[in-house]
């Protein structure tokens, strides 16, 4: 079967790609567009390592087909920094040592950004429940939660 032609906006840029019907958005990002910052941890929507936003909504890109990106706005970790200027969340993750191996970090950052966009002043509990779909096996989540709360404070200030 012929491949599908998909037109989308990726990290603010117009992007076209060809994909097979069964390819997930995650497959397309990694294998077709070579954006490997979005990670595959489970391919079943349980770990959150492949988190992206689609029209501003947080989704697991392993649970969405590539063809479903037609006409949508996709944001991935590669679009989070403004050029060389890191996003406040990225900076706080570094300062708070909120990553060890770093494999969950892109998904964690995307999820945290989505949280702060809808709730700029979350409590610790709200952060913990929002990030409950993003598995981290290294950190025990302590420093991730601290970094997100610190980023929220700074983002409210600016």
């Amino acid at each position: 079967m012929a491949k599908h032609h998909v037109t989308t906006t990726l990290n603010g840029n117009p992007v076209e790609f060809l994909c097979e019907t069964q390819q997930t958005l995650l497959d397309v990002l990694r294998d077709e567009l070579h954006l490997t910052g979005t990670k595959e941890g489970c391919a079943s929507g349980d770990c959150g390592a492949c988190s992206v936003t689609v029209n501003g909504r947080l989704v697991c890109s392993c649970l969405m087909l590539g063809v479903e990106a037609e006409g949508k706005k996709i944001e991935t970790i590669e679009g989070m920094a403004n050029g060389a200027q890191l996003h406040v969340l990225q900076q706080k993750f570094l300062e708070h040592a909120a990553l060890q191996c770093g494999i969950c970090t892109p998904g964690m950052l995307i999820a945290a950004k989505a949280l702060l966009e809808c709730n700029p002043d979350p409590s610790e509990t709200e952060v913990r429940y929002w990030l409950a779909g993003n598995l981290c096996r290294c950190t025990g989540y302590n420093k991730i939660v601290e970094a997100v709360l610190a980023a929220a404070v700074e983002m409210r200030r600016t």
């Binding site: 954006l35 990670k39 990030l131 779909g133 096996r137 939660v145």
Partner: protein, 758 residues
Amino acid sequence: MDTPTSYPEKKLKVIGTSPVRPDGVPKVTGLAQYGADFNLPGMLWGKVLRSPHAHARIRSLNTKNAEALPGVKAVLTAADLPEQKFAYVGPERIAVNYWHMTRNILAREKVLYEGHAIVAVAATSQKIADEALKLIEVEYEVLPHVIDVDAAMASDAPLLFEDMITRGIEPPPAKASNISKRIEYKLGDIDAGFAAADEIVEMSFKTAPVHQGYIEPHACIARTDSDGQSELWVSTQGHFVVRTFVAKLLNMKTGDLRVHAAEIGGAFGGKTVVYLEPLAVALSRKSGHPVKMTMTREEVFKGSGPTSGASMTIKIGVKKDGKIVAADALFKYQAGAFPGSPVMNGCMCGFAPYDIANMRTIGYDVVCNRPKAVAYRAPGSPISAFAVESTLDAVAKKIGMDPLQLRLKNTAKIGTPLIWGPKHTHAGFAETLQALAKHPGYNAPLGKNQGRGMASGYWFNGGGESSATVSINEDGTAVVATGSPDIGGSRASTALMAAEALGIDYDRVRPIIADTNSVGYTQGTGGSRVTYATGKAVINACNKVIAELCARAAKIWKIEVEDVIWEDGHARPAGKKAGAFEPLSLKAIAAQRSATGGPVTASAAVNDGGPAPGFSTQFCDVEVDPETGAVKILRWVAAQDVGRAVHPAYVEGQIHGGVTQGIGWALNEEYIYDKDGHLINAGFLDYRMPVCSDLPMIETLIVEIPNPNHPYGVKGMAEANIVPPMAALANAIHNAVGKRLTDLPMSPPKVLAALSAR
């Protein structure tokens, strides 16, 4: 353990600070390259056919149709791999047997667990590779299987190896069994010890196998040139170890295989062995194309190593005043499909924190139809500690003593004999107990259905072989190359130590992980050995560089090198020449490199025998929901002796991570099998690891009793923290609801069953 040497106390400048890690930015921008992130032109995809049966004889194997499928470039079976000699190689605690290893890579006579690899194919797309797997015909003779360790030890159990005679028994038993090995350690006279006891407590325990649960599945990519030179990029804890294993399994010259350590997305012991790597290299050799292989999450659960499940009995005799006079333990650990559980570690670590005159530990290494056990953070110690530390809690209750005071009363000290012969040469345990005892939370009041539990733990920590090369650039920056993959911040810790040694700023040191052909041999990142042992190699290389820099300064000043000292990042004239010249900075000397003798670079290698063990003591408060059996963690406080916290934020992070993995092990994680030996929870939804909302903030109490065998006092510290949590939780649950749980995980159904039992 070597006799401690002593380094002079130094005032430290950068060690003990927590700067941003050198490899941080690419990890927050998505640019860091992990195992699955590498691609090569003309690359094929490799896939693995795995056994659907827990135990079966392979009657026949036909790959012809798969080979004929357009797009398939290579098919690999065990017949393509050389047979290996049956021998246990290396130190007993971590011995490998290549006869077993090659059979785990690709099954030969039998499949021994569901998920056991049988055939690997390489094709031009993932889809074609998947189709090829479906065309492979395997005729199985399904055999009875055994999963549970006690069942596997029964005399009528189905045998995985019909000729396996238990090692460690004299004379050897006449009959084959699933018991690969028996181990026994003894100290004093336990019969006399128990005879002298006022109270004796005996309890039995079971633990479920748990997976390391790294978020990144195994992944690698290999290429081979027509002259037989191969290259491999892989997510691993030890790329030198991968090189050794792959070269041996494929009968290659070690120098013909260059292995690059990709960024590694978690490992915790699980990436110290090989699965896909020999297949990818062999497929690339057979096909002439680069071959990329990744595991699915299901393959990770079914085909890679969890740690052992176990069955254990502990007996402890105590005087009324709390002095333990005898301790006896029986540890039966599942090895999985091939021998090699960490039961020896369990036997050594279980009673190691304590001064007990009469003790014995007996261990059995038992094969069963499940993936071969692989190291998991302090391998073996958390399992035995769950049993020992739970029993100690019951002992404390029996004599009406606070459990922390009971441990303080029996703390091992420098000079206390260890069960395997040597004496403790390092302190640190008592200090963790004292840190907890002083914590205001330890005596804080609790509410209904709430309880507090504490436990301790021991881990050896590792030394061993490490190499490093330090090169000074013309602008006075330094490149530090080591052979240690960075799992959780070791680039930061080695850069801090190099900056401290050289006397330059942290951000002028660039640490890198060199490939196997670019730096000397280095054992894997494991056993909490990197910051300690690789750190020592780095410091030694820095000291050689400093000697060279002093020589260059002497040349510039035209004085004897004996009259130059290195202080604070500067060469200074000393002795009879003191004050004769302005000090020269590292940068100033580096700028004159060419004129004074050329490149400034030095390598150092260590085979270190002086690691100090780690001790951790923790308490937690829990609330048990009497309706659901769910255990909510209200508070967690973890004290650990870390020697010296080189980068305190990452030290805290290691403690948080170890505690959290222990919580998952204690409360939810387990391998669940159906009656046919199929794993039915091979995914993150049903294999329930702790998520963010399960946990409170974990409080760390960093105890620093410097290791005299390290210039900066460093001890390994990444593992001891996973040892206490299971028992701490069992003890807390007991205190909350009056029920002693002895079977892990203490999941809601089990807690509920305990609550409803009379």
